[in-house]
Symmetry: none
Subunit: 207 residues, 4 copies
DNA sequence: CATGAATGAGTCTTCATTCAT
DNA sequence: GATGAATGAAGACTCATTCAT
């Protein structure tokens, strides 16, 4: 564990139920403040207040603001990562088209479960601290997706990591656009269908 | 022009040569500071210093920090937007496969010309002020791409806007990942090829 | 309560003893800085410093500089207003000459108790924020004085509000002059006597 | 001429017509900005702009902002002072009642000719720079009024300076209240009549 | 342990004043 | 002389973090 990483760890591992509840409350509060006020106005005091506790208590759980934001982002990334990983494992050895469906569904479900949260965290992910966390997750998922691809009976991939990277990010792009409200009205209803079509076509063509 | 937009307008039109140079210096300095320090540490003082002038001078060109950031983002978006638009116009009436090549190339060229700039601006785009600018650009480009698609002799699209939105963002996703350094080593070399494959496959499959 | 007024409210009600003491210290410090440096140099930092605390603390009690100044002015106006009101109530139904004595004494006592404070606040009262507070006080006192006048057994007033307004301000004028040091040497000793004479003469003559 | 005074003098005596016009424009602009923006936002740049010239030009006429404000206030005080002086001279040797009428009329005419100007300058007069100018004017007028009073055939005054000070300021008080909008609706119409009654009564009673 | 007042460095922004053109 | 861009000190205000209670 590098020195940089150390500073962002929660100060204590939440063993007790109470601590866990507190952490949940803090994460929820962070999302809310992020959504309503934006990253720069997402202050420790405001988050603590929204979570119904004092700033001092917040600092019992996180050594500093960045650690809190990192934890919230990390949790979100973990959820998405786990969902994608499970889908990839489940789809191993299946035909490419099934892989596409599986991946799209898992990703969409994870990302769109709490759209406000997903949206709020883009700003966190874009700032210095978040960058690295997202990178790690991308690397992890690219590997998992690549492994899945290699197990496809009906596909052969020159550079599975490259294909996996495209596969993941060609989903991430449109989903981001939807979450940020950049897409045409009514688009959300077609999202899954389009992404399946997109990914199936790509994986089938990627040979 | 909305009230919010008005506040982000540059304070004066750079008439004189010196003014234009000053604005250029400010934009460059902003990118540098953004890159080296991150959005939250990209302060007006630091930008001015980096640009070799005093804060006061910065404020003669931009009414506030957000306006500066918005201007830098806007300029970047304008470049990308123009490139994409020209490509779409040029590809009108061509087969879908040519459209894909044209779009991918234009987008990549615009986005990767100044990678540091492109990368630095993601954080700006993710914050409150940038959101709207990006949205407008997405809307504009989605329309242009949709129009191009409708002119294809070898394609028929149920919902051209939806297809266009996916088309654009399935490129934006991987490009973003590359710029942010999330992709596997050596990926950049394959980027264009993969995106062409991706987009061609999608547009061909998008009924 | 108007929007403008809301912004000038103290940020928190001083519940604890310490808070009350802090507020007192801030008010005293404000008067001192106002007196020694003038309104434009009465900065939040200087006031806090004078009060023996940091700027941050000041901002825990007042949302902004104007609110601090308004609070100090308000407190002063409240004292004067209360004194005048009590005098007016006490003098109801008394002859006009007694009213004059009562009003003059109450006003002088309130205004001259802390001359430095009274003097320092003229600049605050003259600036945008103070204006309204003073106006409200004048309206309130004019009404109270008018009611008193109407109860006089030996006077009849066409337009009691107008007479009250003159009565109040013909006292305020000379008192202001004294506080600002505009009057001849030795004048202060004669002030009460002259104002009683002035007001008695006016009320007796005011048909 | 004291050192303090020197700094507030206009930089050059406006001999030429053009200069005089410029000074007039600057004074008018100052009043406007003062009225519309308040003292603290009455900046040299804004005044110059309003006057249709550059800041640099303003500094050709006044060495600094305070000098400009002082000059504008001084001019106003000079007008009022001259009006009152002339009235006092004219009323010498006349009965006290005529003196009252003369003084009230002169003062009101001078103060209410440009109500916006009169009002705007209260803030200037209340700040450090203005204080001294107003004091000098008060002293000067108190002397002139006292001299007038002493010439009254039908009055005898113990302490003419004290009486004069009261006389002047018991007019100034209500007039200030009117200009600041503190008085009841319709009060302005009665102002002259009331002030004449007030001053006549006082001077008659002051013996 | 929780609390939340205190701290003061750090931001944004303004503005008097200067001086090169 | 006029201009107005440049300067940078100074002010209002915020907020991460600490620590006495």
């Amino acid at each position: 564990m590098s020195t940089a990483t150390v500073a962002l760890q929660p100060r204590k591992t939440p063993i007790q139920a109470r601590s866990a509840a507190t952490v949940v409350a803090l994460h929820a509060a962070t999302i809310q403040v992020l959504t309503q006020e934006g990253l720069s106005r997402c202050t420790t005091t405001r988050v603590a207040e929204r979570a119904g506790m004092s700033v001092g208590s917040l600092y019992q759980y996180y050594p500093n603001r960045d650690a809190l934001l990192a934890a919230v982002l990390q949790e979100h990334l973990g959820d998405v990562g786990t969902a994608v990983e499970q889908a990839c494992h489940a789809a191993r050895g299946r035909p490419v088209a099934e892989m596409a469906v599986s991946l799209v569904r898992a990703f969409l479900r994870a990302k769109l479960r709490e759209p406000a949260e997903s949206k709020a965290l883009y700003a966190v992910a874009a700032e210095r601290g978040g960058h690295e966390l997202v990178r790690q997750m991308q690397v992890r998922l690219t590997v998992v997706i690549a492994e899945m691809l290699e197990s496809a009976p009906d596909g052969r991939f020159d550079d599975p990591m490259a294909t996996a990277a495209v596969a993941f990010n060609c989903l991430a792009g449109p989903v981001t656009a939807v979450l940020k409200g950049f897409t045409p009205p009514g688009f959300e209803a077609r999202l899954e269908q389009e992404l399946v079509r997109l990914l199936t076509a790509y994986l089938s063509a990627a040979n």
